[in-house]
C-alpha cells in the first residue's frame, strides 16, 4: 500500500525555515554553515597536492592565507577595498539619485514618458561596460570612468522599479491626497515618494548588485587601483595567490553588503511602506 504518511517526503524544496531555538541551536547552525567551507578548503589542499601544479596555476590554501596576512599588513587590501567601495558607493548613489526624480517626472507627464520609452529602452539595451572604451576616450583611466559605468547600470533598474512602485500605490491614497487639496509638489513628497519606496529600494538592490559586478570589471579595464585592478595585475605579475585572496575578499564583501545591509533595508522598507514584495531577483 502506498501510504501518504509513511513515505518520507524527500522531494519538496530546500531551505526550510528552521524553528528558532536555544543558544546551542545557533551554534549548531553556524557549524553547519561552516562545515562545507572546511571541507572545501580540505579538498582544495588535497587536490593541490594530488595535481602537483605550480603555485602560479593553482595556489595552495596556506599560501593564500599567508598572502592575506601580507596584504593586510602592508595596508594594500584595506586601501584598495576602501577605494573600490567608495567608487561603488558614489556610482550607485549617483545612478539612483538621478533615477528617482526622472521616474517622478515621467509619472507626472505621461505623454513625455511615452515619448521617452524607446530611447530609454535603447540605452538599457547597451551594456554599461560597452561604454567603457568611449568613457576612457573622454576621461582617461580612473575614477570617472568607473563611477560613470556603475551609475549607468544602476540607473535603469531603479527607474523601472520606482515607476512600478508608483503604479502600485493604492488609488485611494492618491485620491485622498487630491481631495485634501495636495498640489503636485505635495503629492510627490507625501504620496508618491514614500509609496514608491519599496519599488525604489528593490531597484537599488538590483542596481547595486549590477554595479558591484560592473565595478570589478571596470577596475580591470580602466583603473590603477582597487580590488579589480589588484586581482588583474597580480596575475600579470605571476602572483596568482593575490588574485585568489582578492577574489575571496570580493565574495565576502558582497555577501556582507547584500545580507547585512541591502536585504535588511529592503525588508524594513517593505514592512514600513510596502504592501508586498515584488520581483525578488
Amino acid at each position: 500500500m502506498v501510504g501518504i504518511g509513511t513515505a518520507a517526503p524527500v522531494l519538496p524544496g530546500p531551505a526550510r525555515a528552521r524553528p528558532a531555538g536555544r543558544v546551542g541551536h545557533g551554534v549548531a547552525l553556524v557549524g553547519k554553515a561552516l562545515l562545507p567551507f572546511v571541507v572545501l578548503v580540505g579538498l582544495w589542499q588535497a587536490s593541490a597536492l594530488a595535481l602537483g601544479l605550480s603555485n602560479y596555476l593553482y595556489p595552495r590554501p596556506a599560501l593564500v592565507l599567508r598572502t592575506f596576512g601580507v596584504l593586510v599588513q602592508h595596508g594594500v587590501l584595506l586601501s584598495y577595498t576602501e577605494t573600490s567601495m567608495w567608487r561603488w558607493f558614489v556610482g550607485v548613489a549617483a545612478g539612483a539619485g538621478l533615477a528617482v526624480p526622472v521616474a517622478l517626472v515621467l509619472t507626472f507627464y505621461r505623454p513625455v514618458a511615452r515619448m521617452m520609452f524607446p530611447l530609454i529602452n535603447f540605452f538599457t539595451a547597451i551594456v554599461e561596460l560597452a561604454w567603457i572604451p568611449l568613457f576612457v576616450l573622454w576621461f582617461g583611466y580612473g575614477f570617472k570612468v568607473i563611477v560613470l559605468s556603475i551609475a549607468y547600470v544602476t540607473f535603469f533598474p531603479v527607474l523601472a522599479n520606482t515607476m512600478t512602485g508608483i503604479t502600485q500605490i493604492p488609488r485611494t491614497s492618491i485620491h485622498a491626497a487630491r481631495t485634501l487639496g495636495a498640489n503636485r509638489w505635495q503629492m510627490a513628497l507625501h504620496v508618491l515618494l514614500p509609496g514608491s519606496l519599496p519599488g525604489t529600494v528593490t531597484g537599488v538592490r538590483t542596481g547595486a548588485g549590477y554595479g558591484f559586478r560592473s565595478l570589478i570589471g571596470a577596475e580591470m579595464i580602466a583603473a590603477q587601483s582597487g580590488l579589480g585592478y589588484m586581482i588583474f595585475e597580480s596575475r600579470a605579475n605571476q602572483l596568482t595567490q593575490r588574485t585568489i585572496a582578492g577574489m575571496i575578499t570580493i565574495g565576502v564583501l558582497w555577501l556582507v553588503i547584500d545580507r547585512l545591509y541591502l536585504r535588511s533595508i529592503e525588508k524594513a522598507t517593505v514592512q514600513r511602506w510596502g504592501m508586498q514584495r515584488r520581483a525578488p531577483r
Binding site: 502506498v2 547597451i126 572604451p133 568611449l134 559586478r213 570589471g217 580591470m220 596568482t240 588574485t243
Partner: protein, 262 residues
Amino acid sequence: MKVPAWRRLLRPGAVPVALVLLGWLALPYFDHIPQYKLPHLAQVGSDLWGLARSGALWAALGDSMGRLGTAFVLGAAAGVLVGLAVTLSRSLNDFLMPVIAFFNAIAGIAWIPMAIVWFGFGSGPVIFVIANNVFFIVLYNTLLGAESIPAIMYDAVRVLGGYRRLTMVREVLVPGAMVGVLSGLRTGLAFAWRALVAVEMIAASNGLGYLSIQASRVFDGATVVSVILVIGAVWVVMDRVLLRPIERVTVRRWGMVGQTDF
C-alpha cells in the same frame, strides 16, 4: 490593426530619438570636441559601413555569438542538473547551498584573471566566465521553480501509485520546475550578454568587446561608437526573437507574471 512600418516612425516615441540624431548631426557646427571623443554621425555611419564591407564586423559578431552560445549551453545544462540534484537530496542541499551562495557572490567577472591563467587569452576565459555566470542564475531559478511546486502535487502522484523517485522526478519535479528553468534561461542569457562584452575586452583577442577596446586604444572613436550601436542593436534583436517568445510561453502556460519592463 496592423500598423505599417513607416507609420510607426511617426509615433511620439520617434521624437526624442530624432532629436538625439539631429543634435548629433548638428554637432560639427557647434562643438570643439575632437573627433576621437565624439565622432560625427556621418563618420560613424561610414565607419560602420566600412566594418560591414570589410567583414570585420561580421567576424567579430560571429566570434562573440559563438562564445555566447557555447557558454550559455554549458552553463545552463550544468545549472539545471545541479539544481535538480540539490532539490532531490536534502543533505546535498544543506551541504552545497552555503558554498554556492559564496561562489555566486564572487561575481563571474572576478574569475577573469584565473581563467586567463588556466586557458590563456582567447575564447577559453570568455567561455569559462560566462558559463560560470549563467550556471548560478539558472541554478537559483531552477531551485525557485522546484520550491514553488505545491506539496499536494507530490501527494497526488503518490496516491495514484507513483511512489518511485524517478516517477516523481519525471511527473512532478521536471515539469513543475520548468517555469523556473525557463525564466532562469531568460535572465541567464541577459547576464551572459552583459558579461560577454566585458570579458572580451579583457581576455580575448577578437570579438566585439575586443574590437571596441582596441579601437579605444588607438583613439578610433568612430569604431567605438559603432560597436556600442551594434551591441545595442543585437540585444534588441535577441530580446525580440528569443526572450520575449520564451516569456510569452511561460506566461501563457503557467500564468507567470512577467519581469518588470518598460
